[in-house]
Amino acid sequence: MAECPVCGAEVSLEGDAEVGEIIACDDCGSELEVTGKDSLQEAPQEEEDWGE
């Protein structure tokens, strides 16, 4: 179980969660990035050269 760095809610990570994966907090809706087995950080903000 990880903690949402924005609202503090507990976030359950799937077994196949990938480091770098972007998920959403069910409580506050924030986009979060998986940084480890039980750790999260706020997802990076979109930059001007992001895309396809």
Binding site: E18, V19, G20, I22, A43, E48, G51, E52
Partner: protein, 280 residues
């Protein structure tokens, strides 16, 4: 075979590709996070047979692939494809040079000459940053008043990139355009992108449905891909009364909304291509 997976954030597409690679036998997958990587430009620190690029930043993708490629490591896509597809100007140039139909387009360097170009082209027209994606900062210019306002905003508020004015003919899409997926010499699938809005990117809320790949669509998609250097690309196609017209070609393609509606396992096709390139 050692496959380098160059990435930053892991989105649905990257997860599907990672899963597909891990399901293959004899593959050692090496994840390379561009945010944590630095490169010694004088030597190859990588024991890798092939790189698949899945960066979300165009600039990082372009630089990284150039480094890998110059060390003799094949990259999917190659840096020349990234350079061409990463610039709407270079893409248009490549399409024109190859004789692939594309909307009429002008380039100008000052607000005054850009306004003159728009008056010459007629309204509505579209002005876009030469680098950018997901429909970001593209503007449909309906009249001279709007043109003057947008050009003034770009001049005062825009970064260096906005000092190049890329002006494109506006084509009425009638609520949809086509996104086709090319892998090597094959157009493997296509979707219609439906939207009430003139911007039809799925990243901006357009919905996807299957688009049958006719011979005509297949051929122009592959021609557009080859004009930009080939590889694994997604082609944005307009339907016009005179046939298809190619808007853009994307080199780090997104396909999350296209697997179910087309029934084509897109990540499987991409991985097949990467492994084939790695074996050569």
């Amino acid at each position: 075979m050692k496959v380098g997976f160059l990435h930053s954030i892991i989105r649905k597409e990257e997860k599907l590709l990672l899963e597909e690679f891990r399901n293959r036998e004899g593959i050692e997958l090496i994840k390379i996070d561009d945010r944590q990587q630095f490169f010694d430009l004088h030597k190859n620190d990588f024991d890798i047979d092939v790189i698949i690029e899945r960066c979300v930043n165009h600039s990082r993708a372009l630089h990284s692939m150039k480094i890998f490629s110059d060390h003799g490591i094949p990259t999917i896509n190659n840096p020349e494809v990234a350079e061409t597809c990463g610039s709407k100007f270079l893409t248009t140039q490549a399409l024109i040079k190859a004789g692939v139909k594309t909307p009429r387009c002008f380039l100008a360097y000052t607000p005054e000459s850009a306004l003159e170009a728009m008056e010459h082209l007629g309204y509505p027209c579209v002005i876009k940053p030469t680098t950018g994606s997901w429909g970001r900062l593209i503007s449909k210019v309906n009249d001279r008043d709007a043109a003057e306002a947008i050009l003034e905003h770009k001049q005062i508020l825009g970064s260096y990139h906005h000092s190049i004015f890329y002006i494109q003919e506006y084509l009425e899409k009638k609520g949809r355009d086509i996104r086709s997926f090319v892998v090597g010499n094959d157009c493997i699938a296509a979707i219609y992108r439906h939207s009430e809005h003139w911007i039809t990117n799925t990243a901006r809320g357009a919905t996807a449905s299957n688009c049958p790949v006719t011979q005509e669509l297949h051929d122009i998609s592959v021609q557009a891909a080859m004009a930009c250097g080939g590889g694994v690309v997604a082609v944005d196609v307009f339907e016009t009364d005179e046939g298809y017209s190619i808007n853009e070609v994307n080199y780090t393609m997104e396909f999350r909304n296209s697997i179910d509606v087309t029934g084509v396992n897109i990540p499987e096709k991409i991985v097949d291509f990467v492994l084939k390139e790695g074996r050569q």
